[in-house]
């Protein structure tokens, strides 16, 4: 999947990237300050917003989780079942149970999802995506509301999911520890890609001064 995209809000360039390539089965972390274009890039990839440009060799089956993920006012189990067509719900009850167990949502199975904490809501939103195979997952700060223990567990499950299904995972994060789990890290600033490197290289020895400045801040 190769994206060339320009997105402008009013007079502000939110995103301006050219021929940004994502390979199948790899994990990518998007880092950068607030307003750097991480969320806009994910929205463009997910076709949530209109933009000038194109996506070449698009991945057909992509699922997107927004920054403020939403859990509908139905049970956690029914939220996860939304991933399937209504008529096929019964066939997938077992896989729903499995993903709830993996993400430690079992006890919340019948709880109304509108009463979940921020971290539990994010887990439910992730379970809704991970309950079935997708060729790509686009995740906007997927663990931002979780405690560290829950975040580590979810990260582990996401990596296993990506390996099992050869899924491309592109996620935005403010955690350099989390970014280090990706194959590649893309640093964005003011809508532009400043640097893109293998995670170990970019986090230990960034080439660009802007990237170094950002990473040193942590």
């Amino acid at each position: 999947m190769i994206i060339t995209a320009k997105k402008v809000y009013g007079q502000k360039v939110a995103l301006d990237v050219s021929c940004l390539k994502f390979e199948q089965g790899k994990i990518y972390a998007l880092i950068g300050a607030n307003g750097s274009g991480k969320s806009t890039l994910l929205k463009c990839l997910a076709n949530i917003v209109d933009f000038d440009g194109e996506i070449k060799e698009p991945i057909k089956d992509m699922a997107y989780m927004p920054q403020h993920s939403y859990a509908f006012s139905i049970s956690v189990k029914n939220n996860i079942l939304l991933a399937f067509p209504f008529k096929e719900r019964k066939k997938h009850l077992e896989s729903v149970d499995k993903i709830m167990e993996k993400l430690e949502l079992g006890k919340l199975k019948n709880k109304n999802a509108s009463r979940l904490s921020g971290g539990e809501t994010q887990k439910t939103a992730l379970a809704r995506l991970m309950v079935k195979k997708h060729c790509a997952l686009l995740l906007d700060e997927p663990t931002s509301a979780m405690d560290i223990k829950a975040a580590l567990k979810v990260e582990n499950e996401l990596i296993n999911y990506a390996k099992e299904h050869n899924t491309t995972v592109i996620f935005a994060t403010h955690s350099l520890r989390q970014a280090s789990l990706a194959h590649e890290v893309i640093f964005l600033k003011d809508g532009y890609v400043v640097e893109r490197e293998q995670s170990a290289n970019i986090l230990k020895s960034p080439k660009k001064a802007e990237t170094k400045e950002f990473i040193d801040f942590f």
């Binding site: 929205k43 949530i48 209504f86």
Partner: protein, 228 residues
């Protein structure tokens, strides 16, 4: 004032046949028209709220204009359409409760649609990205929007019912305020005011208020029930 109120309460507890008939006709008209307006207006409002199309702003503006449609004008238009010489005159609906219901539906549907659109638009913003990200179909999004907006929809229904109960202009014109046929509480109150029978008007006013309070109580219980 005291004498009027005493006479009014005496009338309520006397079990007057005419009073019962007027209250029942009013309830029939108000429940039927508010339910029909809800069935028509809610889907229109929800569809406008969750859709993005060219001219959406113009449609919303038109809808909001119709929300303020003057009842007397609606009454006259419907009267002309359904009177003996009108295009629907052959239906013989003029001066009937059915035509009063039609008039109420014409008046209330834009209000229901507009209020639904307004509240659903605000709530939809919170989950439309999630729905798009999951590639949920139109039907699922619509059903989820109803679930997420359930409190607002109950409030919309209450407003529609209260409007149907209290409207006087259009029902007076198309119903004709005929005794034992199309006489409802509001038209009776207006008539009794004109003839100086204040105790009857006050008695009907009290019953009108009690009905609205009862419907509000039921709606509150429903809201509490859906919150469990």
């Amino acid at each position: 004032m005291g004498t009027t109120l005493t006479s009014a309460f005496k009338l309520i507890f006397s079990g007057s046949d005419m009073l019962t008939e007027i209250v029942l006709t009013t309830l029939k008209m108000a429940f039927s028209s508010s339910l029909l307006a809800l069935l028509l207006g809610v889907p229109i409002g929800l569809l406008i709220a969750i859709s993005n199309f060219k001219g959406k702003d113009a449609v919303v503006m038109l809808l909001r204009t119709f929300m303020g449609f003057p009842p007397v004008v609606a009454g006259i238009v419907i009267y002309v359409l359904f009177s003996g010489t009108g295009p629907f005159g052959k239906l013989g609906l003029i001066y009937s409760v059915e035509l009063m219901i039609i008039a109420q539906v014409v008046l209330i549907t834009p209000i229901v649609a507009g209020m639904t659109e307004s509240s659903a638009s605000a709530i939809c913003q919170r989950f439309l990205d999630t729905a798009k990200g999951l590639k949920l179909g139109y039907g699922k999004v619509l059903a989820l929007t109803v679930i997420e907006c359930r409190y607002q929809l109950i409030a919309v229904y209450l407003f529609a019912f209260a409007r149907a109960m209290s409207e006087v202009g259009a029902v007076q014109i198309v119903g004709g305020n005929i005794l034992h046929k199309t006489r409802v509480m509001t038209t009776t109150i207006a008539l009794n005011y004109n003839t100086g029978e204040f105790s009857y008007a006050v008695a009907l006013g009290v019953v009108l208020m009690l009905i609205v309070v009862a419907v509000n109580l039921i709606a509150s219980l429903l809201q509490k029930g859906t919150n469990k």
